[in-house]
């Protein structure tokens, strides 16, 4: 029950969204996250952006329960994350990390089936493989596949977990343009099913085109939050990334495009 907190109610079916308040993470005296509060709503893709070292992956780790919190709480499906067992967490949220190495020569089917571990059944494995188009590779050993194929296998495993909340840390990082687009279409499909998806994205244009809402992190704190068109302005991006960028409307393109301005000499006001 999230009666203590205003905002959208939990999703139907007892799953529900993910939220955190006053989140702080410190590692050996260094503050990695400071006073981060956010909520991922059902049927929404929330993109987390920011330069390297801004705390994006730490945020995913904190929301996933991997990183000890110095301050604040994480709520998952209406319950305090700290009170949930590993299995209860796994039934409520799935996590895709940046790197997905696999020990031993497991097949694609084996790995996707591991996504069903929290449920103890074999449901939806074929569907997940088909959706990521790795069904042709079902009997192949995962670590003999290409990097892009391995990334799709990892995503299929996350899909098979069938959780109402999904945390994706740079799901498109190793994909080519075509694979990136088809993966984002799959993510949009998950959102359309009513899932709450938080994705760390590197590519600002991917965020602009696909995210419902974005959060921009800078030095472990939220610098801006809102719809991508409102947040991803030339001023904010140039400031946060320390690199002058242009945000331009392209004829026939549904969303503005973000491009690096090659002219030198931009000095970030923040340093």
């Amino acid at each position: 029950m999230s009666a203590t907190r205003p905002g959208p109610s939990t999703a139907p079916g007892g799953g529900g969204p993910l939220s955190c308040t006053g989140l702080g993470v410190r590692v050996r005296g260094t503050t990695l996250l400071h006073d981060v509060s956010l909520e991922v709503r059902p049927g929404e893709l929330l993109a987390v952006l920011g330069p390297n070292g801004a705390g994006k992956s730490t945020l995913v780790g904190a929301l996933a329960g991997d990183v000890p919190l110095a301050a604040g709480t994480v709520r998952l499906g209406g319950a305090d994350l700290a009170t949930l067992s590993h299995r209860e967490r796994a039934r409520r949220r799935a996590v895709l990390l940046q790197q997905n190495p696999i020990a031993f020569p497991f097949s694609v089917r084996d790995v996707v089936a591991m996504g069903r571990a929290p449920w103890g059944d074999e449901a939806g494995i074929d569907a997940a493989m088909a959706r990521l188009r790795v069904d042709d590779l079902a009997d192949r050993v995962v670590r003999t596949l290409s990097v892009g194929e391995q990334a799709r296998v990892a995503m299929a495993r996350v899909l098979a977990q069938d959780a109402p909340v999904m945390l994706l840390d740079e799901p498109t990082a190793v994909l080519d343009v075509g694979q990136q687009e088809s993966l984002m279409r799959i993510v949009r499909g998950l959102v359309a099913e009513g899932r709450a998806v938080l994705a760390v994205l590197h590519d600002l244009n991917v965020a602009m085109a696909h995210a419902d809402r974005v959060i921009v992190l800078r030095e472990g704190a939220i610098a801006a939050e809102g719809p991508p068109r409102a947040v991803l302005t030339e001023a904010l991006l140039s400031d946060v990334y320390g690199q002058r960028v242009r945000v331009v409307d392209a004829p026939g393109h549904p969303t503005p495009l973000v491009a690096v301005d090659p002219s030198p000499g931009y000095a970030s006001p923040s340093g």
């Binding site: 590993h86 997905n100 696999i102 020990a103 097949s107 050993v141």
Partner: protein
């Protein structure tokens, strides 16, 4: 479609069960019949029919007092070491891990060697019990030392195991230094591993521990698969990684300490058997665990047969045989596995 090297090796578990079963029966029969005193099949059937207390004659006592306890102990010890190897490799996500990696074997040998030097070998099962205590203690010590912030990093665990192994080596070296000649022979023979001391009492000591370990290990099958993804992804899939690893290490300590306590250090069984099976059956632990138990028994029975017949009437230490056969084979496996599966990563 590219097939071959990149395609997962999958023999059906049914086929594997039949093949392993046949190999087990054949190796048991060979080990019972061959040796310094040969027992032909007809005599074998007769002495079995006579029962343990019914018959007389050399064949009867060789079979019931020497061969059968020896084969039984080889089965239990080999199976235990191989199952312990599967679990070890699973929780470390490293095919080079085996019971020795966490210091179980080293701890057990320290226990036994110290027991020999201080004269505990006069007590019934004194050396065995000391070995078991040493192995369990070393396992607990390695685990406690390698934990920080409630977590155990795989690399830390293995490095701590290496340090414990070095410490154990120093203690054994010192014990050998202060030991007299008889004790040194006993220490040396024991630390190279032997089934020559197999008695029904030793079987009775190890069997309950091994059975308990094997039954408990069956509970880890699915979790070990998930752990192949790494600690964090396994946790994201609902596996309480720390608790599982603690329990798994306890089971490994149980299996390996019991095995080393009964026979001394037998190298490569816990390392080699899981490797061979993974190449033939694939990496799924549900099948790997029971198959390792059977193949571990087969390998140990046959290695012991070689140890006591190749230089008869002298008897080679069993650990020497397993290392002589195991090490080159292991190197070969390393090469083929690296080529086929792109290394371990």
């Amino acid at each position: 479609m590219r097939r071959g090297s990149g395609t997962a090796a999958r023999r059906g578990p049914g086929t594997a069960a039949v093949v392993l079963g046949a190999m087990f029966v054949a190796s048991v029969l060979a080990a019972l019949m061959l040796g310094a005193y040969a027992i032909p099949l007809g005599d074998l059937v007769r002495v079995i029919g006579d029962g343990p207390s019914g018959g007389t004659g050399v064949a009867h006592s060789v079979f019931w007092q020497i061969r059968l306890p020896r084969v039984a102990l080889a089965t239990i010890v080999g199976g235990s070491l191989a199952v312990a190897g599967v679990i070890m490799q699973g929780i470390f996500r490293n095919p080079l891990a085996e019971p020795a990696t966490v210091g179980v074997s080293a701890g057990a040998s320290v226990g036994a060697v110290v027991a020999i030097v201080v004269g505990l070998s006069d007590l019934p099962l004194g050396v065995q019990l000391a070995a078991f205590a040493g192995g369990t203690l070393a396992t607990a010590l390695v685990y406690a030392l390698s934990r920080s912030d409630g977590r155990t990093e795989v690399v830390t665990l293995i490095l701590t195991g290496i340090a414990i192994n070095a410490l154990a080596g120093a203690i054994i070296g010192f014990a050998v230094f202060v030991a007299d000649d008889d004790e040194i022979r006993s220490v040396t023979f024991w630390s190279l591993g032997t089934l020559g001391l197999a008695t029904w009492r030793a079987v009775g000591l190890v069997l309950p521990l091994a059975l308990l370990g094997v039954v408990l290990s069956a509970r880890f099958a699915r979790v070990l698969d998930t752990l192949a993804l790494g600690d964090a992804p396994a946790r994201h899939l609902g596996v309480p990684v720390e608790r599982v690893r603690l329990r798994a290490i306890a089971v490994v300590g149980l299996l390996a300490s019991a095995a080393v306590a009964a026979t001394g250090m037998i190298a490569f069984v816990g390392l080699l058997v899981p490797h061979i099976l993974r190449l033939v059956m694939g990496p799924r632990h549900r099948h790997l665990l029971w198959a390792a138990g059977v193949l571990g028994a087969i390998v140990t029975i046959l290695a012991d047969l070689v140890a006591r017949t190749s230089l008869a009437p002298a008897e080679l230490p069993l650990g020497v045989v397993t290392a002589l056969i195991g090490a080159p084979f292991f190197l070969l496996l390393l090469r083929t596995t690296r080529r086929d599966a792109g290394g371990w990563g």
